[in-house]
Amino acid sequence: MTISRRVFVRAGALGLVSFGFDPLFLSRAAYAAQGVSGPARGGRTLVCLFQRGAVDGLSMIVPHGDEQYYRERPRIAIPRSTVVDLDGHFGLHPRLAPLKPFWDAGTLAVVPAVGSPDGTRSHFDAQDYMESGTPGVKSTTDGWANRYCQNAREHTDTPFRAVAFGPQLPRIMAGTAPALAIDDLRSFGVGGRAGNGDRLSRAFESLYEGSATGLLATSAEESFEAIRMLKTANPSARGAENGAVYPRGKLGESLQQIAQLIKAGLGLEIAFADMGGWDTHVNQGNDQGQLALRLTELGQALGAFATDLGERMRDVCVLTMSEFGRTIRENGTGGTDHGHGTAMLVLGGTVAGKQVAGSWPGLSAEARYEGRDVAVTTDFRDLFGEILTRHLGARDLSAVFPGYAAGKSPGVIRG
């Protein structure tokens, strides 16, 4: 099937019908061509959202029931009066209020003490580990999302199976399985919106087919496949539904385009977007201020995404992640320094929602990591692994997280 898929794509979108084999593809192509909505048949999507710079988990999922939290953060704690309570002990930052309806509906779970077993406080190492999926091992060349695609071959390859929004392909998707980096769906292609796009595409395609080697050759091949499919499916024509309003900015734009790809049924299985500005060493603020502004954008974008997809969210899972958390105690400059455990959000139709997942170590001195940080009680690979297995149907995680003996699943996906 994989081979026939490649043949089909190479032959061009319209070539498929005349080939006449591979019924699944016929139906998918029919979806795309007729604009029938819904993800690829039987297909589920995982959307990963990386908060680069190490988000302060304690401000995102606030342990407002813990006096220690307020003692450690006289200037930057989120006042109890403004926290959006979840379970009496934890609450959402007020700017994440757009997510509360999903909590109430049982499609949002939070994991307040998750992270890496590796103790590095370097952004770059920690991001690297979270994306490679091999904490402590720097020699890993590919990312875990790519290894998932390499190994779950029962899923079909389409150029849109793994898509990262941004000008560069992130580490998490680097590897031998095809993955696309798309900065903006609307201008993806050669020749922009000018008329000679097809001719140029053909010219460059034969040029790279003949003269390129290695990474240049495979990247070019993927590009031209993708251009053909996009032309047929035209996802950008699909507006936001259910009254969803995405916030201005890169994150809102990326999530809206991920929603468009899902609606167009192009076989999107893993999508990735990221957002910076979380490294709040100075004047981080509380329910107002720097961090609050970033959380506003995050809350609005996630809320709009889930609203826009509506019923289709039954097959979609959104996972936020960040390389580590921040110090429990505020620092001398009204901010927080690099810490250890942080909080992650899991949102979607397959999520066992309305729960604080994983165990909470608390903030007491003896429960801390190295005396200063939130301890990690859920290894990020247990969280990611559970989502890959139960949401996407991965059968074997040993290749995705090599050398890892899985620990306790946090139980965020309904079994």
Partner: protein, 550 residues
């Protein structure tokens, strides 16, 4: 053949005994050094360098005494930024901040601001802020103009290397107003000097201190001396009167006042600037380095905005870094000793030697060439000129397997494309904007690690398509912000085989593969208009696979 042998001999005659002979023709070697020590070939340059002798050209590039090419003076005169004193930029910045605050009282809420388009936000900017923004946006374009047009190409390559190694992000608060002096006065004069001098200059630069927060890091509990006279002036400056407003404003000031240690710079100093992440330091060392550097800060406006050592903020206790004890109470000197120690550390020589080899030789730098760089580092006490010389003389640098084997970064791609067509960028930020859209917005890499050097980081489907688009636009002289005089470098002709021959010589130094040649011929076969055929052929050559490599 005879001619190229003669040229090779000419190249070798300039070679000191230790140098490894280039293995191929002098033209091949000239193309190789232009790809790596420069931002690519420009019309006529390959033959000129082959004629001069490649090794002599390298020595001349290394011997450049200052980093500015006198030939650029007229071009640089268009950049107001170079004539604006830093004090003026800082003043504008704080003036704009004040206006913004005043504005905000009557202004829309955060969410309303969020809902605005960038254009609307720009229009709403106070004039001071807009003017400042315009000035600062000249900085990335200065990179473009110099990289395209300077004859001191290696100095420009090194300016790019070191400003990326010591990366700062202009989006972070006041960092942007310190960028011009950071580039012009901190980095550029030191690109071939001693590493220790560069490291100390960077450590003292307001740009780095603000970007990595050391300006804010003080001994926990230390308080600035605040004589009544100054406090009074501050109050007057803020326009404060008595009563409740004073209290709340004082409280706000008090809250913003730094009151403790910030480890950010201390960590990156070791992880990224010197030892490397595996260089053998611990979290304890990070905290101790932060203590050593307490008090290194940026002067208040009244003191002239530059580096200042605040004795009151300095931790006067004993510290131990990497097992070396720093006796108590030596103030600013402790920091200088520390930077010297880090600069001399073997891990630093290895980490930076390998990084230079990755830039100049191969994404996976061969051990031999790294060893040569490290040996030169040790021999010369970290003289960067000598380290570079060692790399350029290493057999790995010249090995055929390492030629045309590195993928260009977006900056290298755009600049080399403009150079190869003899183009001239203007003083607007538009050409720099094109590099940004290809994935490398200059001075806008948020994290202190700078842009990566590996092909996996730059080659992916989306980015490749963007390069093809850029190539087509440039070949039609339709890239905003740059002019290419195509008739001068490549006269249009209706004879396609003559055209392709000329494109090959100009863009690929005569090394176009037969396959590329035939694809281009096929693609332009039906185009009768010579100007159109030229644009198409040039665009395919520049956007094609061979030109992505260096």
């Amino acid at each position: 053949m005879t001619r190229s042998c003669l040229l090779l001999a000419a190249a070798l005659s300039a070679a000191p005994v230790a140098a490894q002979p280039p293995v191929s023709t002098a033209r091949d070697s000239a193309i190789h050094v232009l790809n790596r020590l420069a931002f690519g070939a420009a019309p006529g340059l390959v033959d000129r360098i082959a004629g001069e002798g490649v090794l002599r050209w390298i020595d001349r590039q290394l011997a450049v005494p200052t980093t500015e090419d006198p030939g650029l003076r007229g071009v640089l005169a268009q950049f107001d930024l170079l004539r604006t004193p830093e004090s003026e930029l800082v003043r504008s910045y704080f003036e704009a901040q004040r206006e913004r605050r005043a504005d905000r009282r009557a202004a829309p809420s955060d969410s309303a601001m969020n809902a605005m388009s960038p254009d609307e936000r720009e229009r709403r900017m106070p004039p001071e802020a807009r003017e400042l923004r315009g000035l600062i946006m000249q900085a990335p374009q200065l990179v473009m103009v110099r990289a395209v047009s300077s004859e001191h190409q290696l100095a420009e390559v090194m300016a790019d290397f070191w400003s990326n190694h010591f990366n700062i992000f202009i989006g972070k608060n006041v960092t942007r107003v310190y960028l011009p002096s950071y580039i012009e006065e901190t980095i550029r004069p030191r690109v071939f000097g001693r590493f220790e001098d560069l490291l100390i200059a960077v450590a003292k630069s307001p740009a780095m201190m603000v970007y990595l927060d050391n300006a804010q890091s003080i001994m926990p509990g230390a308080r600035p001396p605040e004589p009544g006279r100054f406090a009074g002036r501050r109050r007057a400056l803020l326009g404060l009167r008595g009563g409740r407003r004073l209290d709340s404003a004082r409280l706000a000031l008090e809250e913003r006042r730094p009151s403790g240690l910030n480890e950010n710079y201390a960590r990156e100093l070791m992880e990224l600037h010197t030892l490397g992440v595996d260089g053998g330091y611990t979290q304890h060392d990070v905290t101790e380095v932060a203590r050593v550097l307490t008090g290194w800060s940026v002067a208040r406006p009244i003191q002239g905005y530059g580096f200042v050592f605040n004795g009151w903020a300095h931790d006067r206790g004993t510290k131990t870094v990497l097992g070396v004890e720093f006796p108590a109470g030596r103030g600013q000197e402790e920091g200088l000793l520390l930077l010297g120690m880090l600069a001399e550390h073997p891990s630093t020589a290895h980490y930076i030697g390998a990084k230079l080899c990755a830039r100049f030789v191969s994404d996976s730098p061969p051990d031999g060439c790294v060893d040569n760089a490290v040996a030169a580092w040790k021999r010369s006490g970290g003289e960067l000129r000598e380290v570079l010389r060692a790399i350029f003389r290493s057999p790995d640098f010249w090995a055929p397997a390492n030629r045309s084997a590195k993928v260009k970064s977006p900056l290298e791609f755009v600049v080399s494309a403009v150079r190869v067509l003899g183009g001239t960028p203007d003083a607007t930020p538009r050409l720099a904007g094109a590099v940004g859209r290809l994935g490398q917005p200059l001075y806008q890499h948020v994290a202190p690690n700078g842009y990566p050097e590996h092909e996996e980081d730059w080659v992916n489907s989306g980015a490749l398509l963007n390069r093809m688009n850029f190539a087509m636009q440039l070949a039609a002289n339709r890239v905003p912000g740059v002019t290419v005089d195509l008739d001068r470098v490549l006269p249009a002709t209706s004879d396609h085989s003559v055209l392709i021959e000329a494109v090959d010589r100009l863009v690929l130094g005569g090394r176009m593969t037969p396959r590329t040649r035939s694809v281009i011929a096929q693609q332009i076969a039906e185009i009768t208009d010579p100007v159109q055929a030229r644009a198409f052929a040039l665009g395919l050559a520049i956007g094609g696979p061979e030109f992505q490599k260096q």
